[in-house]
Structure formats: C-alpha cells, structure tokens
Symmetry: C2
Subunit: 566 residues, 2 copies
Amino acid sequence: MEIENIDVNSYPGSEKVYIDGKLHPIRVAMRRVNLTPTVKIIDGERLTRENGSVYVYDTSGVYTDPNVTVDINAGLPRLREEWIAGREDLEQLSCITSDYGRMREADSSLDSIRFSHRYAPRRAAEGREITQMALARQGVITPEMEYVAIRENNNAEALGIKSHITPEFVRQEVAAGRAVIPANINHPEAEPMIIGRNFLVKLNTNIGNSALSSGIEEEVSKAVWSCYWGGDTLMDLSTGDNIHETREWIIRNCPVPVGTVPVYQALEKVNGKVEDLTWEIYRDTLIEQAEQGVDYFTIHAGALRAHADMVQERLTGIVSRGGSIMTRWAVIHDQENFLYTHFDEICEILARYDVAVSLGDGLRPGSIHDANDRSQFLELDVLGQLTEIAWKHNVQVLIEGPGHVPMHKIRENMDRQIDKCHEAPFYTLGPLTTDIAPGYDHITSAIGAAQIAWMGTAMICYVTPKEHLALPNLEDVRNGVITYKIAAHAADLAKGHPGAQVRDDAMSKARFEFRWKDQFNLSLDPARARQYYVESHKDDDHFCTMCGPNFCAMRITQQLVDDCAK
Amino acid sequence: MEIENIDVNSYPGSEKVYIDGKLHPIRVAMRRVNLTPTVKIIDGERLTRENGSVYVYDTSGVYTDPNVTVDINAGLPRLREEWIAGREDLEQLSCITSDYGRMREADSSLDSIRFSHRYAPRRAAEGREITQMALARQGVITPEMEYVAIRENNNAEALGIKSHITPEFVRQEVAAGRAVIPANINHPEAEPMIIGRNFLVKLNTNIGNSALSSGIEEEVSKAVWSCYWGGDTLMDLSTGDNIHETREWIIRNCPVPVGTVPVYQALEKVNGKVEDLTWEIYRDTLIEQAEQGVDYFTIHAGALRAHADMVQERLTGIVSRGGSIMTRWAVIHDQENFLYTHFDEICEILARYDVAVSLGDGLRPGSIHDANDRSQFLELDVLGQLTEIAWKHNVQVLIEGPGHVPMHKIRENMDRQIDKCHEAPFYTLGPLTTDIAPGYDHITSAIGAAQIAWMGTAMICYVTPKEHLALPNLEDVRNGVITYKIAAHAADLAKGHPGAQVRDDAMSKARFEFRWKDQFNLSLDPARARQYYVESHKDDDHFCTMCGPNFCAMRITQQLVDDCAK
C-alpha cells in the first residue's frame, strides 16, 4: 500500500528538530522554519540582519523527518514503546481478547487486506490504576506529560518567553480533569498531545469510509494528509465494510491520537438493525477497539429514553448518528439507553487501556432553530453526571458540543458546559453560525469555532466544505484542516498562549520587508500561498500585483521612514 | 462589450418580484425562492403540504429580471431618474464641470474605450441642501428611505413579522447620522440601500485594475459578478490606465452604490509622484468623480503629519495606500495633510451631489502586532472630529476601520468607534484575526468580520483568498462575497434582525425532509451546493453519502418519530 499524492517532505524552508526532555529520555518533535536575513542597501552598502527561526507545533510525525523512511506496511516507529514496556502496572497479553477480533484474525479470507505486522495488546495489570489521570492524581509526572509540556512551549522555550506550562502544571491539569492526554497504551506510535483550555486549542479531523464510497488506502492517505496539514487528533468514523482492518491500518500509521464511535461498528455487526443492538455486542466492540489502540471513544450515554419525546419539538430532530441510534433503540425496547445503564462497566474497560471517553452530544442541535433547546441542555446535565462517574474510574473525559448555534447563543454553551461538566474539556463541532451556506460550512463553522475556542473550548472538530452534501476528498480535508488551524490559532492569540504571536510577528515582518519566501514558509499552507503569488508575479517584486508599484503602502512607508530619518 | 462567464439569470427556483411602495411610486426588487411541498406517504397515501416562499434580499439589479434585457453599452435603466428629475432643489448642468473630465471628453483617442451614452450631470441648486441627511433632518421621507425600509423587511413583510424598520425609522436614523444611504444624484441606476447598525449588515466588494493587470471588460464583469453573488456596494480601486473611462462603464452598469478613493486617481495624474500632489488636482478629481456618479469617497483626512513619527513604532508601518500617500506628502512638504486642512471645502463639494464620505483609516493596523496601537486610536479621534464637520454640511459619513486585529481586541475597536465617532456607521476591512494564513484571508477575516458586525459594524469590506498575494479573479470574488455574506448573515441572526432566521429555518426544514433542490435553491451559492452534491449522489437519495443509508441520523429520527406515534 502506498500513500499517494502526498509529498510529505515538502514543508519548505523547514527542518525537523527534536527537543530533549529533562525528566525523561524523550525527544519532542517540532518544525523549525528558518528565515532569510533582512537586507537593506544604505549608501550603496548591503547590510544584512539575521531573523530568528520560528518553531512550529508539528503534528505530522516522522513522515516529515528526512532521516526516517516510513513503510506503511510496517507502521510507524513505536515512539512510546519503551516508556510503556518499562511499566510494571501493565500486563502483556498473549493475544487479543475480544470475540470479534479473534474471529477476524481467524478469517484467512481477510489476509489480503490485513495489516500484517501484528502486536499483542497490553492492558492494566489486575487491580492497577494506569491511566494518565490516575498517575497524575498519584503525583506522577509521566513521559507523556513532560512531552506535551515541551511541545506546548514551541516558541516560548526558544525565545525565553515565560510560560505557565510546566510538566507539573500539566500533571495538575490532568489530575483535575481539566485536560486530557489521549494515550492508549496500545497506540505507542502516537506522539503525546494534550487537550485542555489552558493549552493550545486543538483540532480534530474526521475520516472514514461509508457504505457508498472510499477504501482502505484512501482512508490511510487521508489520515496522513490530515496530520500533515495540522490535524491534532483523528476520528475514524468508518461505517462500511472491513472497519476492523481499516482501523488497524490507520492506527499503526497514525502519529496522532485516534478516536472512534464504537456504536457504528456495533451496528454494522447487527447489519444496521438498531433493534438488534445489545450491550454484549457493544462491550465486545469496546475491547476489540481498545486493544487495537483507539485513544478515545465517543459514547452517546447521555441521550436518554425520556429525551426522545422532546425531539418532536425540533425542526431537525436528532442529527447525531450515535444519538439517533441509541434513542431509537431505547424507544423500540422501551428501556433506558444501555450506554447509560452500563456506564460504570464501560469505564472499567476504558480504564484498563487508558482510553479516554468523549461523551457524545447525541442531542446537539442540527439547525439554528434548535440551538440551546431543552433537550440539548438536559443531555448536557447528564453528561456532567457521567463525567463524575468516569473520573471515579480515573477515565479521562471530553465533553462533545454543538453543532449549529447562532453567535449570540454560543457563550451560554461554554458557560454551562464548564459549570455542569465540572471543567472537563469541551470538544465542539463548529458550531455553525448559520444554516444557509452548504458548500461553505467550513467557514460558517470556523466563525463559531474561533469564538467558542477563545471562550474555552479545548478542541474543535473540523468541518469540510462538503459538510451536509458529500464525503470530503483530499482537497476538502486540506481546506477543512487549514480553516480550523486558523480558528484555533486565532483563539490561541486571543487567549494569549505563550509564544503564539511569534509566528504572526515573523510573518508580518517578512511582509513588510518583502521577504516573499519567508511569508510562504511561515504560512499555514505554504504551497497555496506560493501558488497564488507565482501565478501573477515576477520573482523579486518589491510590491505585489494588488496595488502595483506606485500604490504599495508598505513601499511608501519605507520611503517615509527614510524621509523622516533624513 | 459583453459580460462573459456570467449566467445572470441563473438563480434557480427563484422569481424576481417587486413590492410596491405606499408613500412613493416605487417598486422594490426582491428574489422569491419558491419551495417544493413536503411529501409524506402515510398508509400508502401520498400527503403533501405546501412550504411558503422565502424572500431574499437581492443585490443583483435587473440583470436577474427576465423581463429586462440589459445592454452593457447603454447602461442599466435609470431607476431613480424620475425621483430625481422632479426635484426642484437640483440643477441640471449642461456639461461636466471638472477640468480633467472635460479634457478626457475632448480626447478623441479615447473614443474607442469610452462609454458612449453620456448624461449631463446634476448638482444641488445654489444654496440648497439636497443630501438624504439634509432631507431627513427636514423631516422628509424620501423615496430612497421608503425603498430601503421595504427592502430591509424582505421576509418580515411577507410573514407578518413585526419590524422596527419603518420609513420613518429610516428617516430618523439617517437624520441622526447612525445610518447612510449612499445615493449620488448622478447614479440613478443604483437601487437604494442603507448602511447602519440597526439594519442588515452590508458587505462591500473591491474591484479595480492595477498598473499590472486587468482591463475595462474584466472590471465591469467583476462588478456585475459581485452584485450577482450579493455584494451590497462596490469600490472601484483602479490605479492603472484609463481610470476615468473604466469608472464610467462601471457606474452606468452597476445596480449598487459605487465608492472610490479619489487620491488614487489624483496620484495617477501626477505620475505617481507623491510630492507633486496638490489640493487643486485633488479637488478637481472630487468634482470629476462626483459628476460621474460615485456614491461615496474614501478620504484619508485623519492621517496627520504628527502621526508619521509614530509609524516607526510599528511592525508593518502604514498599510493603507491612501494613508501612506497622504502621510508621506505631509512629511515631504512638512505641512499638514491637505485633506484635513481642506475638509470643509471637501464637504461643500460632496454635499452638492450627495456623495457620502467614508473617512479612511489611513493608520489601520496591518498586523496583529500593531492592532489597537497609539496611532490607530489617535487617528480615530480625528475621524470623530471630522464627522462633526461633515454633518454640519449634511454630508453622510461612514468611518472605516481595521484591518488586522486579534479577537480579544475587536470589542475595543467597536466601542471606541461608537463613542469617538458619535455613532456614525462603522465600515471595517475584516478584521483579520491572524497574520499566518495568506491564501485563506477571506477566512481569517470573516471570523473577525462576523464578530465586529454582531457588535455593531454596519458594513464589512470583503477580503478574497488572494489578499496579500495577488489581484482576485472572478472565482476569488465569488469566494470572497459568499464568505462575507456568511459573516453578515451570522451577524444578522445574532442581532435578531426581523425575519433573518426565516431562510435558515426553511433550509433546515428542507434538510430534514431531504428536499435537496430546495436546499440548493435556498443556499447562498446554489451552484456550488448542487455541484458538490451531484458529484456523489443519485438523485432522490433519502440520505447522503456522508453517512450512508444505515447511519443517517435524520432518517433514523423520522423512524423514531413514527415509532413514538405508534
């Protein structure tokens, strides 16, 4: 299998660098953008002044390390293997333990599509508390915690900017439940990252085939592609054939945490018949996926039987797939949602692998009309109760949020979430601030995402231009990721994240000095910036085609500065 | 000359309709989107229920009226001609009065590029106060005021939604200076519109050739194209050859108000030499353009000599072309900016044609680093003083605003502007909320524009994906306009504009009922929404490829509603 269309070595003007840990033998990857010097001709003499490098938070993994050759068939190097192998609170299993996993393993007809390098999973030794949250509460600073502390301070560190983000601060945030490090012990390929409102805003991307389109290769390509552009986590929402095998390929090759919605696969196992879903099938699916290395599960345990009747007040009913499945199951069987009734047991399973739970907002509004309504907020109250249960098991918790929300109703979402869910990190889809722009919903939603992230949402789930219309292709993924990088970075600036503005300042200085290459190299999408430029420029213009030579304000300003100096 | 690439009759599922005035014999154009009925099959019987039409604010002029054939060479029908012809406070000139205009008229070498249907201009009769503001203050409700009142209530009217926007309310807002109706008496082709924070948020588009590219045909095409997609006003920022003739073509064919920055042309007249600019050349340019029908002038009268020294504190100096020109002129001559010293005289000229002044923010920040700095806010104070002067002359005033501003500094811009500029409408460029995404600055800026518009900015100036890199082509204009329609509409929803949510609700209902064609027809860009859909669908799917048949939340919800009803 090959990753096509991706020139993963193509961050221009950049070097992959590694910063060593001080507490642990870790090396934290970053991208360093090296800039050209400022050049001035004064009285015929050419004076140059160096411009310091800019360190960029790097989600692309070793795909962009020229010293590493990645073989998709072998999977990524297992970065965390040594950290995990030394832990005496874990046990090495001799084989996978889920019924479904074993069945697939035994099916030789799947050999041709199977990822061949298999690893036996680990889990917590009996009676041991092994999650990042459990360790944080015990006062342990894990390698993962030191890793993210260094990673979050990309420019702060290099420039001596004072940062509140220390390994000990990370530990405290994880212990308090205000931040999550999704790090399944069975996904050692992932580079640790942290989700919490006192850290950089993160963005999640969704990929996944549906019954109608998209194959394994395409999904792996999309996963790598989304990491290349800046996706911090990746949800595999596949609902078609061979979900199990697709997921294995993705996890083994994914340098960022992977999330899933287990009920999708559970439903496939009963051929799409909601009424045939059972707790036992779901439970086995959790174990199956946890042993593959999924880092967080979206679980719609808050959509209760009682909420179903309220749906009829809505313009667009239930728009969450998981929410609609579980609510319908509850109505058909006239029983409570089994994810709710079995939530303790779910947490026991998750705790053994350190899978975080992302509590799904099954009743998120699907239209401006339905925003902030009764059922949405009643479900949020339930998510708050479930958060406390999960934390009892030391399971890390994210809370999922809307959806479609007009700007004036965004604040209430954030404030209520912090209050009702005890400061567990909020993870929102957009929100979309209007319904009337299909084809541009990356933009309708980035407007909302930037605002809610500034207010405290820790992770925003990207939306592509194809939302509501079709599945995204690679170019849509790129547009979605860059759009959400913009929203996240705008929020980081507004929140005053240490060092966030360094990149903006470097860009603006390069702009003022007509250092075009530095502008491209510093931008979120260097290839596109360069492409737009070269389509209409000669190489060394000291102005751009927007204004022409006589009307370039920056050129005139530089003349002005010279005038003033005379 | 022909408008290429524009299928101006292509709003699908829509009709051009006209609403009659009650005070004046006016007909206000709107677009009515007609929807298909809701269909349900119950017990084998096909039940249908009609869905009411949605009225869309329409900026496209008669280009989208199938009963009108537009000849670009003849110009648009002169909608306001009769309203104006009847006014005894105006005088009909026998010829144009600017020196430059006469010179161009006499130059037969220009015949081949000249718009041939010429009209002699009008101006205020001696001693008469003729602007919309003057009339409003006298208690007169003009046809323009009634027109915009009807226009602003597109859906409110049809649905019986109570609206605060009456013709009398419009008059009061214009009289108070809180709103502007840009309506040069020499641009009768334009359909009246209003800019003020108690009305729908408007968006301005910029077109214009530079010395390096773009010709007359292309600029006229862009003008019509931008109106087609939803631009409310249009600035012609041409700086290349034949500006005078290009402008004539644009104005005669433009159904929305046209703005310019007269100093650009004045500078061309002195061959780009800032030091050679004079008040006399500038003054003649104002008259030349006012008699062509320009509806508002951006005038950088607030960038003072004293501000020049502060520029050196900045990372990106002055990024306003007009601001940099005037500041440099002041430094070279060691004199005050002549636009400031002659501001009374400027207002006297503008008042004779009812040209509004848009007070340029010559010192707007060009980077996150420079946002909300000393020079920016000192200039804003000056703009407030100039506002009072303009209002003494009954000249309508807009205040231009930034620029590059991180989200947490946006609020201060709005609050200060309202305070210092006495509630004159604010008109901002973005603001861009980060500097690091060239190629995507329509998005970095839409995030800021939506917020500042919600806070009270009356008009937002679009930014295209090519900002900072190159001049936009037609596709960039489309992307820029739609992106800004999103920002403006998101703000209208957040402000609770009467009837704004009608379109969102209709869209969401169509979505829930899988009425795909209605979704396309109701969207801001029907062609793109349809294109994305048809690329991956069979026609009548009751789900979309995003989730596939078993995982469509809306389909499951409909089954759920059926279950509940059993």
